[in-house]
């Protein structure tokens, strides 16, 4: 890839002074690639964890036990009303100090890496929004559907799995899309615990090369692309799952 881009971007630097070093310097390209890979993997894992947490939370909110419902309410209140950066630091430094260490043959490494803590902390943070979104989706399902399934002799569990949940998922898709997009953007704060994702990788480049403006442009383009991809996927999903007679 470098042999195609290098002449172009070297010429750009000589004529305009714009220094897009990752496109002609092998070392910087390596950093950029690590950044993209880590960032995409981080986004994927965080979104997956947040969805699982959201579904579990929404299910627990419907539980008969008030203790469980109270715990979910507390979880949502705490994680939605405290700064995500501090949550991340709390998980990584606060809890990370007490996780067991693994013998790596001479030195010790914590069992959960900074990447792992970023996935856990941001997943739980994003999940607190997803619980509310799924709950709203479940509440939006018309009551007539459960009456109809009762008439068809469905058990409450069957009603939930086969009728309420599929409809609730469709109702919550638009709100879910915007939350997942904002969560994907929030993964950039994993910078504070030195996860080598895109922001961290490019900050390494601009610290060495002093090309802040160019790397910032690259960052903006990268995140706009990520947001575009997620919104296209969610839009497609919404279209594929649409049921005649529901919504527009």
């Amino acid at each position: 890839m470098l042999e195609f881009t290098a002449p172009l971007f070297l010429a750009l630097q000589q004529t305009t002074g714009l220094n897009f070093s990752p496109f002609f310097d092998e070392y910087d390209l390596g950093r950029l690639m690590t950044g993209v890979q880590t960032s995409l993997l981080l986004i994927l894992c965080v979104l997956a964890v947040s969805l699982v947490v959201g579904l579990l939370g929404a299910a627990a909110q419907r539980s008969r036990f008030w203790v469980l419902r109270f715990l979910v309410a507390t979880y949502i209140a705490v994680f939605r009303n405290t700064p995500p950066v501090v949550q991340l630091l709390f998980f990584y430094f606060g809890l990370g100090a007490f996780t067991p260490q693994v013998d790596m043959g001479g030195w010790y490494e914590p069992m959960i890496s900074s990447f792992g803590w970023a996935v856990i902390a941001l997943g739980i943070f994003g999940g607190s929004y997803n619980v509310e979104i799924f709950r709203a989706g479940i509440e939006a399902v018309p009551k007539a559907t459960s009456e109809a399934t009762e008439a068809l002799a469905f058990s409450p569990m069957q009603t939930f799995v086969h009728v309420t949940m599929p409809l609730a998922l469709r109702f919550s898709l638009p709100a879910l899309a915007s939350n997942l997009i904002s969560l994907a953007k929030t993964t950039s704060i994993a910078y504070v615990i030195a996860v080598p994702e895109m922001t961290y990788a490019l900050s390494g480049v601009w610290n060495d090369r002093l090309n802040v403006g160019e790397m910032m442009t690259l960052l903006f383009v990268y995140y706009i692309a990520v947001v575009a991809i997620i919104s296209v996927i969610m839009g497609q999903l919404e279209k594929r799952l649409s049921v005649p007679g529901l919504g527009k």
Binding site: A73, A77, N81, F93, M216
Partner: protein
């Protein structure tokens, strides 16, 4: 019917009870911690925290200052940008949409980096000479931009949500576009925008600690500095970070409960 009434009642009282319980818990921790200050240096993490609480709270005032200033700036500029977005002229509308899209789709941290690193740390004004721009002022600008874009979008959404019939009836009363905007559309938009606007204030305040990454001495920066001066013992991490989380919680939780209540009231009418 009675069922519906009772669920809304429990839903509005639970958050308040919860808030009160958490508030009491953190006050108890703070009291336990501060009641021993007079006895001088001590090794217990809570007592160390007690000695540093004023320093952390001092940093927290900067968080509040930054979020309030950024909110004011973002509201003014966001409403301006929102009007540009719904302009009839394509040449005004398209650039405004582009600006909104860039700032809405980039992470807070990236925008903050861009402002902190690309705005000079001092500027020379014709009459005042060289003026230093402190880090927190630049951070405030960095926090303003994403909120500005989202408020612009809120305004656009609110205007779009007003039924077309309102525009048509104003037109039939010989209102100009300007007059329709001022007397018919905007008064209805303010109501619709308020919950979203408050939500953005909460999100903004919760994001202000990232300014610590760039060396602004706000609550998070002061907490980390305090832990370092107190010997960086790992025992300090949990109480210090928990305290930091609870002061943000106490400030933001009432805002979000109020926002939810407004949302529900506007949804009902």
């Amino acid at each position: 019917m009675t069922n519906a009434v009772s669920t809304t009642r429990t839903r509005s009282t639970v958050p308040i009870l919860l808030g009160a319980a958490l508030l009491l818990a953190s006050l108890a921790i703070a009291y336990l911690a501060t009641s021993h200050i007079a006895k001088g240096p001590d090794d217990s993490p809570l007592k160390v925290l007690g000695r540093w609480i004023p320093f952390i709270l001092e940093g927290f005032t900067l968080n509040i200052l930054m979020s309030v200033l950024a909110m004011i700036l973002a509201t003014v500029s966001g409403i301006g940008l929102g009007f540009l977005q719904i302009s009839n002229a394509v040449i005004i509308r398209q650039p405004a949409r582009f600006v909104t899209r860039v700032f809405r789709n980039s992470p807070w941290l990236v925008i903050l980096f861009a402002i902190m690193l690309m705005v000079p740390f001092e500027i020379t004004l014709p009459h005042f000479g060289t003026v230093m721009i402190p880090g927190w002022v630049k951070a405030t600008i960095g926090f303003t931009l994403p909120v500005m874009a989202n408020i612009a979008e809120l305004l656009r959404g609110a205007v779009a949500s007003i039924p077309t019939g309102q525009w048509e009836s104003a037109e039939s009363l010989a209102f100009s576009r300007m007059q329709t905007m001022r007397h018919v559309i905007l008064p209805q938009c303010i109501r619709r925008m308020l919950p979203g606007w408050m939500n953005w204030f909460a999100l903004l305040t919760l994001m202000t600690p990232i300014a610590a990454i760039l060396g602004v001495n706000e609550a998070l920066g002061n907490t980390q500095a305090a832990m370092e001066s107190a010997g960086s013992s790992p025992d300090l991490l949990i109480p210090f970070y928990l305290f930091l989380m609870s002061i943000f919680f106490i400030f933001i939780y009432p805002v979000s409960v109020w926002t939810k209540r407004l949302e529900r009231r506007f949804a009902a009418t």
